[in-house]
């Protein structure tokens, strides 16, 4: 699902007209296939790996939203965690205060709340460039969770809000965690279908035009400000959904989970996976979950002194970021592209 702009030649060739399915249907079928893969995976792995699979799920949609914003429209946001915060608290508050709402309504509202915040943020940020936008979004990531301490009764203060979600209809004999994983991935894949359609459609082309040259885009009739705000909106809807799914999965929403470090990790995942690439979002999400786990295991295996062991995961993560940016600038997805191109050239060379 990499993002490629169509070149004019491939569009007007009446002689080679193939009957293709409409893209939306293709994407929905792909999503259904992916969901089948995920379900199969959860059935063959243990409960804790199921939790990790679910975690990859909600990080995937968060990273996808951010890669769309930063990769496609070139707006560097250091505050994506703020949208996850809004989504998580929306779900938490709804489950606690309006328990009769079904889960899907809570998740939709979490996405909508994120989107609303994205709209506001985008409007405020539309005229900001590069580092100014980065600074403003960082302030958003730092400042927004502090609201919980200002309104401790409503938002639960430093301890946050705890709740239990009952999403599994009676009669389905599946462990709770596995069912939650399926719900997470179902929501994520549906959202991704929408995102892919946007990215490959007219709006996606507008995004890339704005990123490449705002003045040229404006001259060719694109409403630059509105496009940038829309990008923020879409990415924040993804962020809100991700936060809502995280709250659902963990049964909690607390300010301590939404640190600036979260927003920076999401950005790192975007770059690691491949900027602007939706497959890259998947690799980035996997990296977020597994690099942490692997470096902890590494620290255990090496029997290091406590100070070193405690800080090793962070150090490893930082080193990986540096190495990837210096050596693999297009991220993991870029690496696959190069590999694929390499293999193709070998094949072509062999056939001659």
């Amino acid at each position: 699902m990499s993002v490629r702009t169509e070149s004019p030649e491939t569009r007007v060739e009446p002689a080679r007209k193939r009957r293709t399915l409409p893209p939306l249907l293709v994407h929905v079928l792909a999503a259904a296939g992916a969901l089948a893969v995920v379900v199969a995976l959860t059935l063959v792995t243990d409960e804790f790996t199921n939790l990790r699979i679910a975690t990859i799920g909600y990080y995937l949609i968060a990273v996808a939203g951010l890669t769309l914003l930063t990769g496609l429209t070139g707006q560097v946001s250091l505050g994506h965690g703020a949208f996850m915060f809004i989504g998580a608290y929306t779900v938490a508050l709804l489950v606690r205060r309006v328990p009769s709402f079904p889960l899907w309504a809570d998740l939709l509202l979490a996405s909508a709340a994120g989107g609303l915040a994205g709209l506001l943020a985008g409007a405020a940020a539309a005229r900001l460039r590069g580092p100014y936008l980065a600074g403003a979004t960082l302030a958003l990531a730092v400042g927004l969770p502090a609201l919980t301490r200002k309104f401790p009764d409503f938002l639960g203060g430093s301890n946050g809000i705890d709740f239990t979600v009952h999403s599994r209809p009676a009669g389905i004999g599946v462990p709770e965690l596995r069912w939650q994983t399926w719900i997470v991935w179902l929501s994520v894949l549906l959202a991704l279908v929408l995102v892919v359609n946007i990215v490959r459609g007219r709006l996606g082309r507008d995004f890339r035009a704005v990123r490449d040259d705002e003045v040229a885009a404006a001259l060719s009739g694109i409403a630059v400000g509105r496009t940038k705000i829309l990008a923020f909106l879409v990415s924040a809807v993804c962020g809100g959904l991700a936060g809502g799914l995280q709250a659902f999965l963990l049964g909690t929403a607390a300010p301590g989970s939404f640190t600036p470090a979260l927003s920076l990790s999401l950005l790192a995942a975007v770059v690691l996976g491949g900027l602007g690439s939706l497959w890259g979002a998947l690799w980035g999400a996997v990296a977020l979950v597994y690099f942490q786990a692997w470096s902890e295991d590494l620290a255990d295996v090496l029997h290091l002194n406590t100070d070193v062991a405690n800080n090793l995961p962070l150090a490893v993560y930082g080193v990986i970021l540096i190495v990837v940016v210096l050596a693999f600038p297009r991220g993991i997805q870029g690496g696959f592209h190069r590999l694929g191109a390499h293999l193709k050239s070998i094949r072509r060379g062999g056939k001659a």
Binding site: T70, V76, A124, R127, L128, R129, G130, P131, Y132, A134, G135, A136, L138, A139, L140, V142, G143, L144, A146, L147, R149, K150, V215, L219, P260, L264, L267, A268, V271, L275, D307, V308, N310, N311, L312, L314, A315, Y317, G318, V319, I320, L321, I322, V325, L326, P329
Partner: protein
Amino acid sequence: MQDFFDLTLGGISAGAVYAALGLALVIIYRATRVVNFAQPALALISTYLAYSVTKATGSYWLGFAVAIVAGTVLGVATERLLVRPLRHRSELSSIIVTLGLLLVLQAVAGMIWSNEPLAFPYAFDFRGRFSANDLFVVLVVLAIAGLVLVLFKYTPLGLRMRAAAFAPEVARTLGVRVGLMLTAGWGLAAAVGSLAGLLATPPFLFPNVLDGVFVYALTAAVLGGLDNPLGTIAGGFVLGVGLSYVSGYFGPEMVTIAALAILVIVLTLRPSGLFGRAKVRRV
């Protein structure tokens, strides 16, 4: 009831620190168009080195000097090894690479000195409504800011550095060693940043001690205009005093929200900061 005067004084000395760290960010930005997210980590390592030296020798000022030198060296190394290779890539790459460096350095600090808070002394006596230390902080920051401005505006070195940043190709043809100027810019900025770290850290030193200050420093730099050192200094002091009032009258948990609000309001009215210059493109 809060004493307005006390809050103002407290805000001025806090603001001096934001101004200093913001200045470090601005120098680098003007030189290489990179926002150096590793700046707090470079300052952190320098401060930890100062701590070790002071503990070993008993002299605060020796540690101080070591910190400045160490900061310069770290800044130079960062520019040559990590930032130079990325000069022609998007600004996102350099943000991520400096971010990676931030994580590594904070982790290394924890590995070598542990995550426990360590007592770190003030330069001078800290007692008093506007103590000797507060005065020192403000004076030193103003002095450094003045020196930097004089350097950039009136010295040949400063001119070369500005040329290297603004029009590198032209500067190169005129004999300016562009690469060296960029490295010098980073070294200078890192030295200023280390100074800010030494001033901001007391009383306790631990790996995350400069995180909050960095956010406010970036806010100050953005407020003042990322290419305007004078604006950043002013932004730092204004922010320091403003946030002090917020903490005193509305409660300490409101400070980060207030910083966000101030930033949003200022940037909405002036997207390049209060004193920044908007880039105008001729089409």
